[in-house]
């Protein structure tokens, strides 16, 4: 009898391991996608670095960017990356309410970041410094805009996840998706470190 119970336990454990392996494989697959996304960003960074001085009589980065403004953007995104990690931790502890709260905070901070970025773009375009102006501005809008597009998709994904968790709770499938979302969000913050340094800080120093 006790052997039977032990066998049942082994079978259950086996199933658990199998499930967690499958889920890990899926998350690893998503990691591979993120790494290939790096190639896209690397190309855009290369283009930007080549064209950064081709202002064609237009404004340079130092004249255009306001550092305190960019710092606020950066802090909003960095904090959202942190709260996204907290949301994942709460989800792994199966605290539904806590997860939803942290996910909400992450969403709000991400939306703040996106709003600030769009306001900045709008200001530049209305001043006549749009992507038509110079090679520098074309590459700037492409690089930062591509990052912004990723953020937009991440926010949409986050909203859908929020509704999903609210309606169906925290099953293994939801947890797997949440792990992927958090990878995506942290990855975007990592890309932003380089945008902040190479585009804005180097720009302020007239590279």
């Amino acid at each position: 009898m006790s052997e039977l119970v032990a066998d049942a336990k082994v079978v259950q454990l086996n199933k658990q391991i199998e499930r967690s392996e499958k889920s890990s494989t899926a998350v690893f697959g998503f990691w591979v996608y993120l790494m290939t996304d790096c190639v896209l960003f690397a190309s855009l960074f290369a283009v930007f670095s080549v064209l950064r001085n081709n202002t064609y009589g237009g404004p340079s980065g130092a004249q255009l960017f306001s550092l305190p403004y960019v710092l606020i953007e950066t802090l909003a995104l960095l904090s959202s990356s942190f709260t996204c990690g907290l949301a994942l931790l709460s989800a792994q502890r199966r605290h539904k309410k806590q997860t939803l709260i942290w996910l909400g905070v992450t969403f709000a901070l991400g939306l703040t970041f996106l709003g600030l970025e769009i306001a900045e773009f709008h200001k530049f375009v209305t001043m006549g410094d749009s992507w038509h102006r110079s090679g520098f501005l074309s590459s700037y809008f492409t690089l930062v805009g591509t990052h912004g597009a990723h953020i937009t998709i991440g926010l949409l994904w986050m909203a859908v996840m929020g509704v999903f968790i609210y309606k169906r709770g925290l099953g293994p499938l939801t947890l797997k998706r949440l792990r992927m979302l958090s990878l995506f969000w942290h990855f975007l913050d990592v890309v932003w470190i380089f945008i902040f340094t190479i585009v804005y800080l180097f720009g302020a120093l007239h590279v």
């Binding site: 391991i17 290369a46 904090s79 931790l89 990878l183 120093l205 007239h206």
Partner: protein, 133 residues
């Protein structure tokens, strides 16, 4: 039945699920605070133009690289998995690709700039020739 489970693997799995809660929270907090400090350092030295330009650029690059590694380890958990470390391998390979892509592009374009782009004097001559037509 019992041989079908690798005990080491099971132990590792159990250890991983136990390791999780407090130490993982600690990881996120450490990652967040050090990223915050690194970002503010980079911002302040740029804002106040502390030191000469070459030094500043080097310092900013170093700060960005440190923050990159910090976030990779504390937020993205790269290098904290069991072997075989496919995630770490993939990441290392991608860093190599990015270095080749960006470094190579900059090298080629810089070299072309020196070789093919006309000097200001040549440009003026060309413009004058166009005017005469």
């Amino acid at each position: 039945m019992n041989e079908s489970i690798n005990p080491e693997y099971t132990n590792a799995l159990v250890a991983a699920s136990h390791e999780s809660e407090p130490s993982r929270l600690k990881h996120y907090v450490i990652g967040f605070i050090s990223s915050l400090v690194l970002t503010l350092c980079a911002y302040l030295i740029t804002y106040y133009h502390a030191g000469n330009r070459g030094l500043l650029l080097g310092l900013l690059a170093v700060l960005a690289l440190i923050q990159f590694l910090v976030q990779l380890f504390f937020f993205l958990h790269v290098g904290r998995e069991f072997s075989p470390r496919f995630k770490l391998m993939m990441t290392t390979f991608m860093i190599l690709v990015v270095i080749i892509l960006v470094g190579g592009s900059l090298w080629i374009m810089h070299s072309l700039n020196g070789r093919v782009m006309p000097s200001t004097k040549q440009k003026e001559q060309y413009m004058n020739a166009q005017d005469n037509l």
